[in-house]
Structure formats: C-alpha cells, structure tokens
C-alpha cells in the first residue's frame, strides 16, 4: 500500500549538500520532462494542421480544433468516434464489473479463508499470464470463429475479463490480507452473516484497494489493442482500433492521429486523476489501526 502514501515533506538540507540537492532536483525535473515531452508533443500536434505537424518541429503555430472535429466526424463504412467510444465504454465497464465480481470472492477465499495449497492456486492464476498473448491468438481466433464471436463486443468482454482477472485476484488478495482477522471475528460474534461480513466490514476497509484494482482493469482494458484488432477490427471495435484507423495511406495524418490519441487518452487520464485523489483519501480515512 506504500504506493499511495504521500511522501513526507523534505527536510531542510544544510551546507554543501544543498548544492547537490539542487543539482538532483534539476536532474529530476529534466528526466521528468524527458518522459513528459512526447506526451506534450502529442497534445501540441493535435492542435496543429497537418502541414505544421509534419514540418520541422514547431513550437509556435495557430492552434486549431479542426483535427478534433475531423477525427470525430462520422464517415460511413468506417468506425466512428462515437461508436468506438461507446463500444470501449461498455466493454471496459462490463469486463471490469465481471472481473471485480469474480475476483472479490476469490481474493476473500485466498486471503481470509486460505485452504491448503492456496499458494499454488495463486501461482496458477498468475501463470495464465506467462504465455505471450501472440502465442495464444491463433487458438483464440479459431474458438471465437467457431462460437460465432468474431467481431462481437462479447469476445472482447470475455477476453478482457480473463486478461485482468489474475491481476485483480493478486492485488485484491494482498489488500484483503491486510484486514485484521479480529475484525472478521468480531463481526461473526456480532452475529453478522458471511455476506454481511464481506459487505459491511471487509469491503469498506479495502475500498481504496478495490478502487485501485478497478482502475488498473479499466486502464488495461481501455488501452488493449492487440486482441481488439485481431478479433474485432470492424464496426464493433474499440478506441485503440479507432485511433489506428486514423492512419491513412495517402496524405499526412500525424496531426489527426495525435488528436485521436489525445481523445483516446483523456478518459483514462481523468479517471486516473479522480481515482487517485479518492484512493489517497480513502487510504488515509480507512486507516486500519
């Protein structure tokens, strides 16, 4: 959980260490900017016209929203922004709900009522991620075809659920394991049923953990491209496929692609930003001891 605790305020530093501290701070900023720069450039490019975007790097230009309206325009026969957004929204939402619905009981069992060999079970969950997805795409495609699931939203919901489940079980298990056993015992003694214990005692304590886990599932599902492009590349597809569809064989497309990328990134960034605030507050509020 240390991941989400705020760093303590830096102590004032004395003497010559101060110089070093300043150098380090500068370096940190530089490295930070280095990481941030491509994103910055991406956003910038989204507001340019193709000519500006494709000419030598240009910091000053006439910002325009034209690219955004271009990419969000509906063109018949092509995956539209609204469609892709809607598809992504539902696929991500449903798969994340499914993941949580399956992972919470699993994590409860593994953390709070571990049976013999629970470690092996946990290992099994993560072992399903050992196989690179490329290695599994062929059989997945065939199964999807045989089940008439190709080019459906359902296939992505199923696969994203399966993809995120091991991670969610692992994360939730470690959050659940931090719930003091006495609390559950106290709830039992207070006459609380099993469901009551989970709903009224455990979940409020692990709520920040649930939020963190759900957020990760959302991000992974939202950004998933490979499965989407292989199994569902047409109308029923998702935002990443839509972004990629902005590449075109003729003419420049860098600014359009940038604008599309910005639109695809925005929801996740906002969700992450909101969730992060809540998670920090939740963790501070739900302090167990």
């Amino acid at each position: 959980m240390a991941l989400f605790t705020r760093a303590p305020k830096a102590e004032p530093i004395l003497g010559q260490n101060r110089v070093i501290a300043h150098v380090l701070a500068l370096l940190t900023w530089l490295i930070g900017l280095l990481f941030f720069f491509p994103l910055f450039w991406l956003v910038l490019n989204g507001f340019k016209d193709e000519l500006d975007a494709n000419s030598s790097p240009k910091l000053f230009f006439d910002p325009t929203l034209d690219r955004f309206s271009e990419v969000t325009e509906d063109t018949t026969g092509l995956l539209s922004f609204t469609e892709a957004f809607g598809n992504s929204f539902w696929i991500v939402l449903i798969s994340t709900i499914l993941v949580m619905a399956l992972a919470i009981p699993a994590a409860y069992a593994l953390a709070i009522r571990p049976m013999r060999k629970w470690r092996d079970v946990l290992f099994f969950f993560i072992s399903t991620k050992f196989l690179p997805i490329v290695g599994a795409i062929m059989p997945l495609w065939i199964i999807a075809r045989d089940l008439d699931l190709l080019n459906t939203r359902a296939v992505l919901i199923i696969l994203y659920t399966a993809m995120n489940l091991p991670l969610a079980v692992w994360m939730l298990r470690s959050f659940f394991a931090e719930v003091p056993n006495e609390l559950i015992e106290a709830a039992q003694i207070d006459g609380c049923s099993l469901m009551g214990q989970i709903r009224q005692v455990i979940l409020p304590i692990v709520a920040p953990g649930l939020a963190a886990t759900a957020l990760l599932c959302v991000i992974f599902a939202w950004n998933e491209y490979f499965l989407a492009v292989q199994l569902n590349p047409v109308e029923g597809s998702t935002m990443p496929v839509w972004v990629a569809s902005q590449e075109s064989g003729r003419g420049n497309f860098l600014a359009k692609l940038s604008a599309a990328s910005v639109l695809a990134t925005l929801p996740v960034v906002i969700a992450g930003w909101v969730a992060q605030k809540r998670m920090i507050r939740g963790l501070a509020m739900g302090a167990i001891k």
Partner: protein, 360 residues
C-alpha cells in the same frame, strides 16, 4: 445470564501435536467473573476463543446454560467479546460500532439508538458517538469495545487482555471500573490476562493455566493461601514466593541454619514416600528478620517506601540461594549487612515433582 461449562475440551491446532488447551474442565457460574491467567502461550486465548466459537473444539464439549454449543458458530452463541486490540470497525462511527450487533439482529433504528446512547452514558462515551475509532484515544477505544459488548446484553462476556494496550495508571483505573460494571450488570464474564495482579484483583475465581493444562481454579484468596503446585505458588503473588529445594532431616526442612518443622500431614506424606528432599516455599511477607534462623548477607535491598524487600544470600548445602524477605519501611538494612530471618507466617511444601504435599 448464563452458566458456562467446559467438559474435557481440547484444542489441537492443525500441524501441531501438543494440545494448546488440554482437556479443560471448568464450571463458570451465572454472574461470575472468572479470570483465566497464565504465562504467554499457556492457552488462555485459545480457551476463550473456543468458548466464542472462533476455534474448533477438537475433543470434549462446551456448554452455555446446559446447551451444547460445541459445534455452533459464533453467531449462534449469544456472546460478546472484547479483543486485545479492540477490533473496532474502522469505517463505522462509534455509534455504528456499538449498534452493529443490534443491526444484525434486526433491531429497529430508534431502538438501536436508544440502547447505544444508554451504553454510551454508562461508559461516558456520549460526546464521541459520531467519531470514527481512529480519532479516539486508546482508553476511549477500549470503552467503545466495551460498549459494543454491553449494548447487546449477551449471555457471556469474553475479554482477551482488554487492558493491555493502556498505560499503567489507566489500566488500574479501568480494571476497577470493569469489575464494577460486571457486578452491576450481573453478567457472566470470562476474562483473560497474563497479569496475575489483574487476575487476583478482578476475579471472583481465577483459573491458572500452564501449557494448556488447568493448574488450579479457586478464589484469589485460596490461590494465595494454598497454591496446588509449584507453578501456581510461583506465579501467584508479588513478589514471588521463595521456593527452595531443601533436605528433610528428622521431620524438618533445613534451610541454611533454619530448621522448619513439617506439619503433621506433610511429615506423614514425606515419610510414606520416603522423600529426603522437598521444595519449601514461603512468601517474602511470611518471613521476618529474627535473631536466630537462616542467615546470610544482604545482596539487594528493594526499597518501596512503606516496606522493603531484601534479598538475603543464604549458603545452603553446596549452593547459595537468594531468599527475599519483606521488612518494614523503617528497618535499616543495607547491602552487605549480615542478617538472620525466620518464619513469620504460612509455609508451603511441595514434592520434587511440584505437587503440594499437604493433602488435596
């Protein structure tokens, strides 16, 4: 209100051989405050948790009010428990914590509120009802845990070292309040502690456990007066009883110049079993400085103001033994002095196996 009965109840933790609680037989009367005491790892918590239904009873049975609850889950036993770290629900307010059990039982909201407020009044918690546990002091949390227990008027109160997280002064104060509360409510209470002073001051009766075995259960006074074995003798009483292995010569225990004649029944038992060594026990307060008796050099003086405990290094056969003797606060004794002491009160005699020698 309820009686509790353990019948040869044992708990063997999975993967262990030796029972953590071994064939415990214990009767607890209605309205009694019984204290389970013993050193760390003696099985006190386990015994309590067996009664709560949190620990499987592997052998034997447990009855509450003559109903066999051995296989019942905690929910069905109508007990309340206060945990060592209080186990307050962090996401609920004090009032919600205290009303939680009532809510589970389907008590109406108004009724719940009334009962919670009543319990809060008893425990001086009224100003804190809307706070979260983390915004309370240790003592207040302890009271909330108490409140959570009393709100529902359970059959039996179980307490596992509920005072051990409090500072010394608050602990003494709360201990009195707790005993008082128990008496007022007239509820049966099983109280676990490792602190023998707490056990003696609070318990109507005290059950002493060691290695999962019940050593003795009796009133504090009887435990003090007639410890059943060496372990209880050494465990109960502060400072601890002097326990010294001594030879028996002519029906008297010999301790470095002091000859303690054995009582008749002890002497008969010693003769019957042909013992030539026994363990002699005397509490510091039952020894006194005297002109004749065992003598030795004062090794340590523990000054308490009203009284002092002096450790007298007595040469005894091949060995030396430190014997602690209580003296009045005004007695002028200092380290290095040569003193003698004699018996000035009760004496105890145990066989080398540790059992009390004068009858059962």
């Amino acid at each position: 209100m309820a009686e509790v009965r353990y019948e040869a109840a044992s708990r063997i933790y999975p993967g262990t051989e030796i029972p953590a609680v071994n064939a415990l037989d214990l009767d607890i009367a209605d309205g009694e405050l019984l204290v389970l005491v013993g050193p760390s790892g003696s099985g006190k918590s386990t015994a309590l948790r067996m009664l709560a239904g949190l620990e499987t009873v592997n052998k034997g049975s447990i009855f509450i009010n003559d109903v066999d609850v051995t296989l019942k889950p905690p929910q069905d036993r109508d007990i309340a428990m206060v945990f060592q770290n209080y186990a307050l629900y962090p996401s609920m307010t004090v009032a919600e914590n205290m009303g939680f059990a009532l809510k589970q039982a389907g008590v109406s909201k108004e009724q719940r509120r009334a009962q919670v407020v009543e319990a809060a009044r008893i425990l001086d918690l009224e100003p804190y009802l809307d706070r979260k546990p983390k915004n309370l002091s240790g003592g207040q949390r302890q009271r909330v845990a108490m409140g959570r227990a009393i709100v529902r008027s359970p059959q039996v109160f179980l307490m596992d070292e509920p005072l051990s997280n409090l500072d010394a002064k608050l602990r003494v104060q709360t201990r009195t309040e707790l005993a008082d509360l128990q008496a007022r409510l007239g509820v049966t209470m099983v109280y676990v502690t490792h602190d023998q002073v707490e056990a003696m001051t609070m318990g109507h009766r005290v059950a002493v456990l060691k290695d999962g075995l019940l050593q003795q259960v009796d009133t504090p006074r009887e435990l003090y007066r007639r410890p059943a074995n060496l372990f209880v003798a050494g465990f109960i009483g502060s400072p601890a009883m002097n326990l010294i292995t001594v030879p028996v010569v002519d029906g008297a225990a010999q301790l470095g110049g002091l000859s303690v004649p054995l009582p008749d029944d002890v002497r008969a038992e010693v003769a019957r079993r042909g013992l030539d060594e026994i363990i002699f026990g005397a509490r510091p307060e039952h020894l006194a400085l005297a002109d004749v008796g065992a003598s030795g050099e004062v090794a340590v003086v523990e000054e308490l103001g009203s009284e002092a405990y002096i450790h007298v290094r007595v040469v005894h056969g091949q060995e030396t033994e430190d014997v602690v003797v209580r003296v009045g606060g005004e007695t002028a004794v200092k380290r290095g002095d040569q003193v003698s002491f004699g018996i000035a009160g009760a004496t105890h005699f145990f066989d080398p196996g540790g059992d009390r020698l004068d009858g059962e």
